[in-house]
């Protein structure tokens, strides 16, 4: 199936669960709410025409200061090995309490990517069998891929950038 056909099929079958559906740069992209994700994912996996049997990756996005609502998004890339087509699911998440239901019941391989999602973005994955940090040490504070997490861990003491010193003074005076 082409991306246009997939999007049209999703629109007709998912209906109210679908927030938005589009073909972006040739890829089929659907937007669903976190509450509708398990139902939509199950339908995408089990529908005989679609049969998305392979979840290749899960990642997150932080749209801080990007003039976009909601702030967070969890992104799922699905492929069908039988039919040779793909779809991307984008799940918009609340800034206050980003929570997304697990898809490990459908795709076992979602276990580690969902742990990474929790580790790097702090999204609570409800129903996950073993939700703890994957990449960072277990006693680490904060979630490094959030846009408001500090980019550098240590202050630079010297630089080849001639403007570095004046920039440093400026940021210091701003902090004070």
């Amino acid at each position: 199936m082409t991306s246009e056909e997939i999007v049209a099929k999703c629109q007709s079958s998912l209906g109210g669960d679908l927030v938005q559906a589009e073909v972006n740069l040739g890829d089929a992209v659907i937007y669903v709410s976190p509450e509708a994700l398990p139902k939509a994912a199950e339908w995408l996996k089990n529908d005989p025409d679609l049969r998305f049997d392979y979840l290749s990756q899960i990642t997150g996005v932080d749209y801080l200061e990007q003039d976009r609502e909601p702030r967070f998004e969890a992104v799922y890339e699905l492929h069908s090995i039988d039919h040779g087509h793909s779809i991307r699911i984008r799940v918009g998440l609340d800034e206050e309490n980003p929570t997304v239901p697990t898809v490990t019941t459908l795709w076992k391989g979602a276990d580690f990517p969902e742990r990474e999602l929790f580790d790097m973005f702090g999204f609570q994955v409800t129903g996950h069998p073993n939700l703890k940090r994957l990449l960072m040490p277990e006693d680490w504070e904060g979630h490094p891929l959030l846009k408001d997490y500090p980019l550098t861990i240590e202050e630079i003491s010297f630089s080849h950038n001639p403007d570095h010193k004046s920039e440093l003074i400026k940021t210091k005076s701003n902090q004070e």
Partner: protein, 194 residues
């Protein structure tokens, strides 16, 4: 004077001559071998000679972490030949090694492993921080990398470079050998094995 007296006198002269000859011979012998004693015996402190032995047989632990490890391997091979300085026997077990060359960036998750391997090494032991990353974090000023391995283990020699060439690492090893020899026999060396 009788014949007997004459005979006694001549015998005494002969004996005296023999005595003098023997004395000369012994003196000559003594002069010949007296220098040899000073040439063949060296006086030093035990600590100094132990340090000298340690510096000439540094056994590094195999601890390659990133691109610096390639240069570290090059240092051991025949072209740069660290064996000339007694530092070529890379040991796969930390219990047989006394030098840890931290070659590459140390991630937050690797830091406990590094500390554990350091603790497993027998005293006395030394650490070389090879390259910018293990010395200060290098270009990786972010959440993933430990900003300098000296936050985890005590470092003796820092080798700068990104990555440092094998000759730079050999120079670092020579500097470490100088340090070991200078420390030998002092309280610092004693603390290392205490």
């Amino acid at each position: 004077m009788g014949l007997i007296d004459q005979a006694v006198e001549s015998i005494e002269t002969e004996v005296n001559n023999l005595k003098l000859n023997a004395k000369d011979a012994f003196d000559q012998l003594g002069a010949e071998f007296s220098g040899a004693i000073y040439d063949s015996i060296l006086t030093t402190k035990l600590g100094k000679i132990v340090g000298w032995a340690q510096k000439n047989a540094l056994w590094p632990a195999t601890f390659g972490l990133a691109c610096c490890a390639i240069e570290m391997m090059a240092m051991a091979n025949s072209r740069w030949d660290a064996a000339r300085f007694g530092a070529e026997v890379f040991r796969a077990s930390p219990r047989q090694a006394d030098l840890m060359i931290v070659s590459g960036r140390v991630s937050q998750k690797m830091a406990p492993v590094l500390k554990r391997i350091y603790n497993q090494m027998a005293d006395p032991k030394w650490v070389i921080a090879m390259g910018a990353c293990s010395s200060c974090g290098g270009i990786f000023n972010n959440y993933a990398i430990v900003q300098g391995v000296d936050r985890v283990v005590p470092v003796d020699v820092y080798v700068p470079g990104c990555p440092p060439g094998p000759e730079a690492l050999i120079y670092g090893i020579i500097k470490l050998q100088e340090k070991i020899l200078n420390e030998a026999g002092t309280d610092k060396a004693r603390q290392r094995v205490a």
